[in-house]
Amino acid sequence: MGLYLIKNDLNIDFVGKRKIAYVLSVLIIAAGILTMVLTGGPKYGIDFAGGATAQVRFAEPVSDEVLKTSLNGAGLPGLVIQRFGDDSRTYLLRISVGEESSSGVTESIAGALRQHMAGKEFEIQRVEMVGPKVGADLRSKALEAMFYATLITAIYISGRFEYRWMSATIMAAVLGGGMFALGAFGVNKVLLVFLALGCTVVLCWRLKLVFALGAVVSIVHDVLITVGVFAMLGKEFDLTIIAALLTIVGYSLNDTIIVYDRIRENLRNNEDQPLSVVINQSINQTLSRTILTSGTTLMVISALLLFGGGIIFDFSLVMFIGVLVGTASSMFVASPILLAMGDDVVSHAHIGVDERPRDTDGRVAGQV
């Protein structure tokens, strides 16, 4: 017989505690944004800022101090030395590259090491060089990718939960088209993405796409917190971090959808219960599953953090923060936000306009 982590009759008042959760979220987001503003914007890795890094491993341990003083006069532009991993044999050397000096990075670093670290044997294990133009391209592309992922997810959610494929698709088409057109006129992409996200939230509100609104708000919430915490840890953003953030966009909704699914089901069965009760009931019913799944996911991410090596450490770190935040937000943010528009909007009638084919018992095809 299996174990039970959560008692069957558990009834935590999630909705009642939502104000505390909101305040906490706002505080963390504010702290993250403040950190980034104070440090002059997010720290970009070479993927986005342009530049080159070389991972160098010495045969013998070398102290940070020795390496720094020796390479100071080596004429490597904008040199930053960072220890990589726990032994003092491996270092990351980051230098800046211009439009012209982009080839031969390996040679200039190897040359400087040979000359200024004479007698020390070393191996250049990895070199990454991104020209300044490519970096800028990637930065705006990454933001766009995040935006489109959010938008498409919003359509999917309104379609699946509110059967309003049309309004959601039209909204997305207008937003996506607008972005594309303005982008073609050379409007700043970063500004555009934030503008479009704002529009998405407002439109979801005006069109009364409540579930989509909840999803979009919780995605933005999760990403902002993850980015903020990551920035507070003093880490750099690069392509793998964007990959992790995009995965968070998808994954954070995973829990949310399970809860929404249950809310929908319970609304159908208990027509006269107030929404807040139904929401609480649904979160509690799915709580055991939510904790288990996040738990196993966090277990494997911990394995990646501990054993996966330096190259994917930051990636795993972002995933860890994101999964944690995503799980919490599905309980404390995404569902309670349905209440924000009042009981009538997520009206039982609204859910009732489900016109999918039903069998004789009134069940939707595919459901028992």
Binding site: N8, S103, R160, T240, L246, V300, I301, V368
Partner: protein, 528 residues
């Protein structure tokens, strides 16, 4: 439900066998067949499917190159200008020598009253130029400023890119890298992947060298009248001691280019340096013969990419042979010979992005990735077994099945396994149990109301929609990630997507079959 069980079992077994079959070559480490190679021995019975390893695991070099189109267009325009000048003067329509101004060709028609005749010539013989109305200057002279037509510009950039692509391919083939990948990107960039290569400096030297070879006559700047140009002189090692000049003045006109090279080989020159001996094709020999015969006792500069390598005195009429000297090491000379044989690039290329990974680091990454996967998998499996008992064991088998399906899917589609890709597999191990957890939790819930058998039916049915819904959003994100990402990141998007699809299949379909069969014997209890 019950009638269909045989079919369901058959489907499960079929998928299992098919994925195992696809994975056999990797499991037995049978090497991949080369193109056109006939399978030998064991390989005859196996599919030619392998899981490709990405450069970050295999070690190798990834380069993104940009072709300098501005330079290419300028070169093309200045050639058109030369032809225009020649053609116009032949017809008595005197124009000033066309000058380049950005991507425009500017010149003045100096004979008044010939506008119609000249424009007729432009329209007939120079349709690559977009015609524009000239500006009238004093004395009835007309100033023209012409650019390439939009269509011609497009055609020219396309062909330049294609030419650069085939030259780079040619060079890499001659250098001999196993399974290189050279392809065009949408935005006019070229991506080169060289697995197993670790000397990026040399790779860039070979791929990125324009290798534009010219023969030009050396002139005395004091006495000559025609247009000249000063070029840097790189010379050979002994020269500095002899006080050789740092610049050499040559005629602007190019006497012969490297287009007519038939072969280039390494030879040894004086001072322990190496030289590259080139031989011309028939047309080249003809031109070279004429050039040397007409200019006996003059110096002929051998110019490579705008630098004079040597400027020997022409002692006799030469036809099919010449050599390029300069202070080359053996490796440099070998690479130069290779590049000359493979042909010159139509325009300079710039390295926009470089990522290289040494073989030792690649191996290290594999070890770390696999360790993380094993540890993570073991913890999750242990947990599932303790928490759900027998049902957890079934879920664990589903997990193993998932990993097999992911790898088989990758082998089948020829996808590439990268380090983030391994992270994706590890992640899906954690996420894959989600589908099982959803079903099991639902069964537990339903068991409070009904018999185990009914609860299983109800649990699977009710959880199915929620599983599909919740996983689809992750797939949406992964697809967008694939669109946006490059190399390693794409590998992550691929394993994540495959992992989610596999876990849906095993949790919804396969494990239901197993539960159904298990519970068919009356009186069996359900451990969940």
């Amino acid at each position: 439900m019950k009638q269909g069980i045989l079919w369901r079992v058959a489907i499960v077994l079929l998928v299992l066998c098919a994925s195992a079959y696809v994975m056999l070559p990797d499991m037995l480490s049978v090497p991949r067949l080369k193109e056109g190679e006939q399978p030998q021995g064991l390989a005859r019975f196996l599919p030619n499917t392998r899981v490709n390893l990405g450069l970050d695991l295999l070690g190798g070099i990834h380069l993104t190159l940009g072709v300098d189109m501005e330079k290419a267009i300028e070169a093309n325009l200045s050639q058109v200008g030369q032809e225009l000048l020649a053609e116009a003067s032949r017809k008595g329509l005197l124009i000033t020598a066309p000058q380049l101004a950005g991507e425009r060709l500017e010149f003045v028609l100096t004979v008044p009253g010939k506008q119609e005749e000249f424009e007729e010539l432009l329209k007939q013989k120079f349709h690559s130029l977009a015609f524009e109305v000239p500006k009238t200057l004093a004395n009835g002279r007309l100033r023209y400023s012409l650019a390439l037509t939009e269509l011609e510009r497009q055609r020219f950039t396309d062909s330049t890119l294609d030419q650069a692509l085939s030259t780079i391919r040619n060079r890499i083939d001659q250098f001999g890298v196993a399974e290189p990948d050279v392809r065009k990107q949408q935005d006019g960039r070229i991506v080169v992947q060289l697995p197993g290569m670790d000397d990026s400096n040399r790779a860039i030297g070979i791929i990125g060298k324009t290798a534009h070879l010219e023969f030009r006559l050396v002139v005395d700047p004091a006495t000559t009248k025609g247009p000249t140009e000063q070029l840097p002189y790189v010379g050979s090692r002994g020269d500095e001691a002899k006080g050789a000049p740092r610049f050499i003045t040559v005629e602007k006109e190019v006497s012969l280019t490297g287009d007519h090279i038939e072969n280039a080989v390494v030879g040894s020159a004086q001072y322990g340096d190496y030289e590259v001996a080139i031989s011309f094709d028939r047309r080249g020999s003809e031109l070279f013969g004429r050039l040397t015969e007409a200019n006996l006792q003059r110096n002929l500069a051998i110019v490579l990419d705008g630098k004079v390598h040597s400027a020997p005195v022409i002692q006799a009429k030469l036809t099919d042979n010449a050599s390029i000297t300069g202070n080359f090491t053996l490796e440099e000379a070998t690479d130069l010979a290779l590049v000359l044989r493979a042909g010159s690039l139509p325009a300079p290329v710039k390295v926009l992005e470089e990522r290289s990974v040494g073989p030792s680091l690649g191996q290290e990454s594999i070890t770390q990735g696999v360790t993380a996967a094993l540890v993570g998998g073991a913890i999750v499996m242990l947990f599932m077994m303790v928490y759900y008992g027998f049902s957890g064991v079934i879920a664990n088998f589903m997990l193993l099945f998932d990993v097999l399906l992911i790898l088989a899917g990758m082998a089948l589609f020829g996808a590439t396994l990268t380090l983030p890709g391994i992270a994706g597999i590890v992640l899906t191990i954690g996420m894959a149990v989600d589908a099982n957890v959803l079903v099991f939790e639902r069964i537990r819930e339903e068991m409070r109301r009904m018999s185990p058998l009914e609860a299983i039916e109800a649990g699977f049915s009710r959880a199915t929609l929620a599983i599909v819904d919740s996983n689809l959003t992750t797939i949406i994100a992964a697809v967008i990630l694939y669109q946006f990402g490059t190399g390693p990141i794409r590998g992550f998007a691929v394993t994540l997507t495959l992992g989610i699809i596999a876990s849906m299949f095993t949790a919804i379909f396969v494990s239901r079959v197993i539960f159904t069969i298990w519970m068919r014997k009356p009186g069996r209890k359900l451990s969940i």
